[in-house]
Amino acid sequence: MTHWYMLTLVGEDRAGIVARVTQALYEGGCNLGEASMMRLGGNFTVMMMVSAAGTGDEVRDMLDGVVAELGLRLHIDGIEGRLHQHVMPDVRVTVAGADRAGIVAQVTGALAGAGFNILELESDVAGSERAPLYIMHIEGVAAAGVEAVRAAVEPLAGAGIDVRVSAVETLIG
């Protein structure tokens, strides 16, 4: 009987983190599921589904050496996880503009109010220290349809941010 765990790892970015971590899990008999790994602000971050026969503490033990050596912070939670549960997004929201506090809260607040369920959100701060730019891509499911989402975020456009709402229509061929 195996269990799914959600493993969260953060550490200063350097070459080899993924290789070392996944090798240790493989040697410990784990199987990996879906994962998101990304460099954020000079840190390397990992969110990964790990399936293991043992307990969360046993998974942690497998990674002890690597975590200490690479200076990583590790967090493990047991989850009710299953694979093959993908939900297809039907709306994409792209936001770009001069960076300022509150963009994410305003946009996602408007989206939540329109019944929009976020499946994926990725954002970057680009530009320079003096003139930072904020760029965000959101994909999700719009329970009330794309027009409801558009109407909800339209008032946020202007004042230095561009917000684009587009339908995602998936071609199955």
Binding site: H86, M88, P89, T94, E120, H137, E139, E169, I172, G173
Partner: protein, 180 residues
């Protein structure tokens, strides 16, 4: 008629380059009927290619008429299809009956000119755009052993679309049906 089993990635047969159809007979008509039934058996399927059911022949079916807001030519059987001109590029989300439970973004030509034989072997030519053009390109890729997995682009770097793009390079060295 029968619903045929769909091959799924990484089945090597999906990577073969298919051969042109040369004989238009009852056996071919029967296969086309089965292929169409197979396409319609899958939820939301708007196209299918013969190699997806293990038949390495240059034959696809495209029918996006269930999505009437997109311009389309209805049900099309495209045999030995060839894209002779293309124009514009657009990113769009695709999935595939041969790659279950996964979708990704793929850049395709926005408008294509396509020639093909129909199921009676008659020469046909089509100008397609948008979703229908995407479906045709997705299916024709199957004939060359390509899946949309071979053409994935990052979601993260999806461009903020602007109204005005520079005219992209045109394919096949032909003047496309321009004027747009």
């Amino acid at each position: 008629m029968a619903v045929l089993p769909i091959l799924t990635y990484p089945d090597e047969r999906l990577k073969r380059v298919s051969e042109p159809v040369e004989t238009f007979d009852d056996a071919l008509a029967g296969f086309i009927a089965d292929l169409e039934q197979t396409m319609r058996a899958g939820p939301g399927g708007v196209g299918i290619a013969a190699p997806q059911v293990g038949r390495a022949q240059r034959l696809v079916i495209v029918d996006i008429s269930a999505k009437p807001k997109h311009p389309n030519h209805g049900r099309l059987v495209l045999i030995n299809p060839e894209i002779t001109a293309w124009e514009g590029l657009a990113s769009g989300r695709e999935g595939c009956m041969s790659v279950p439970d996964f979708t990704g973004n793929v850049v395709r030509a926005e408008r294509i000119t396509l020639k093909a034989l129909d199921e009676r072997g008659e020469r046909r030519s089509f100008e397609m755009e948008g979703f229908e053009a995407r479906a045709a390109q997705h299916e024709i890729d199957h004939l060359d052993g390509l899946l949309f997995l071979d053409r994935l682009v990052s979601r993260r770097n999806d461009l903020f679309r602007r109204k005005v793009y520079q005219q992209p390079a045109r394919g096949a060295g032909k003047s496309a049906h321009g004027g747009r």
